[in-house]
């Protein structure tokens, strides 16, 4: 890859890292990442991957920007209230780094379109805020053999794990089925410390860059749990479940499922 003078400066702190170099930066520039959600997690993930120079970043989200998002969704602003979140994020990311091709997709994905949407991408990042999407993304990535970097946040706690196709467990090995809607915290209960998605999204973006570079170790078969109140990081080993309904020996889930609505999706 031939870098322009601006690119040499922009990426100089990457290029001088032995683990990255010009070759690693070229890999980053050639990578295509698909981000599910342009909310709390999707904003920092997209923001840092844009800064890092990831060549193509797609974001899918159906929502529009609201005032109550701004406490944590850092790609949006008072100037973009009412705008689709994916358009608002695209504007922000393009201002940060014009090298990056940002593809904004305003929709709620379903079992009928997710496979087509993720087909051209190397890595999928889940920053969704609801269980139906989380399971849909897990199942679709398993079937399409795409690496998935999954993140979740609630109140003061966040989780990250990286699911690699054909290696280690999937999300259903961890939690077989979505919880019934009644057991999911209601909107009033579902508070979140504004900075928490920044920590978790930052970890997700780091996992993505390591996957692109092929350096270091990712959270394969491990769930990293961050507690912001206690300032603790805990790694929990997650074994592959031989009876997993998706990736186990006798899978019962062989096609994608749209779970019913009725889950709270906090704005």
């Amino acid at each position: 890859m031939d870098f322009t003078d601006d690119q040499l400066l922009r990426y100089s702190r990457h290029i001088i890292l032995p683990e990255v170099g010009g070759k690693g930066q070229a890999k980053i520039a050639g990578a295509k990442v698909f981000i599910v959600g342009a909310g709390g997690l999707g904003c920092p993930v997209g923001y840092y991957l844009t800064a890092a120079g990831v060549g193509t970043i797609a974001m899918v989200d159906n929502d529009t920007v609201e005032m109550s998002n701004l406490q944590r969704q850092i790609a949006h602003s008072v100037n973009t209230i009412g705008m689709p979140k994916v358009e608002s994020a695209k504007k922000t990311f393009e201002a940060l780094n014009p090298d990056v091709n940002i593809i904004a997709i305003q929709k709620r994905m379903s079992k009928d379109d997710i496979a087509d949407l993720i087909r051209d991408y190397d890595i999928v990042v889940d920053g969704s805020d609801n269980f139906p999407t989380r399971y849909l993304v897990n199942d679709a990535c398993f079937m399409a053999k795409k690496p998935l970097v999954s993140g979740a946040i609630l109140r003061f706690e966040g989780q990250v794990t990286t699911i690699l196709p054909g290696e280690g467990p999937c999300y259903r090995c961890l939690f077989e089925e979505p919880p019934p809607p009644g057991l999911v915290p209601s909107c009033q209960e579902a508070g979140v410390l504004g900075v928490l998605p920044g920590v978790i999204g930052g970890l997700q973006a780091t996992e993505v860059l390591k996957l692109i570079l092929g350096k270091g170790e990712v959270l394969k078969g491990e769930l990293l749990i961050y507690n912001a109140l206690k300032t603790t990081f805990r790694k929990v080993k997650v074994p592959k479940n031989p009876a997993c309904p998706l990736c186990g020996q006798n899978p019962t889930i062989t096609e994608l499922i749209d779970y019913n609505e009725g889950y709270c999706s906090p704005q």
Binding site: L8, L9, S12, R13, I15, I16, P18, G21, G22
Partner: protein, 81 residues
């Protein structure tokens, strides 16, 4: 000591940090292990920092020489891909 014939030469006169090391590193990356890169520079600080960084990255510094009032010549052998 016999004079080493470099496989590649770059002239980074006029450049300052971090360009100096970035350009040198990109040049080394494009070469094969065992080949020698010669760097001509006029930024004094880089005459010390480039050899140090190259060694940190596993490369061999063969020569650091002040050739006139303003310029240095470095020779680096690529030992590590």
């Amino acid at each position: 000591m016999s004079e080493m014939i470099p496989d590649k030469k770059i002239n980074i006169k006029g450049l300052v940090c971090p360009y100096t090391f970035v350009k040198s590193k990109l040049a080394i990356e494009s070469m094969d292990v065992g080949q020698v890169l010669e760097i001509l520079l006029d930024y004094e600080e880089a005459s010390r920092s480039i050899p140090k960084s190259m060694e940190d990255h596993g490369q061999k510094v063969l020569k650091v020489e002040k050739v006139n009032d303003t310029d240095w010549i470095l020779q680096i052998r690529k030992d590590k891909d």
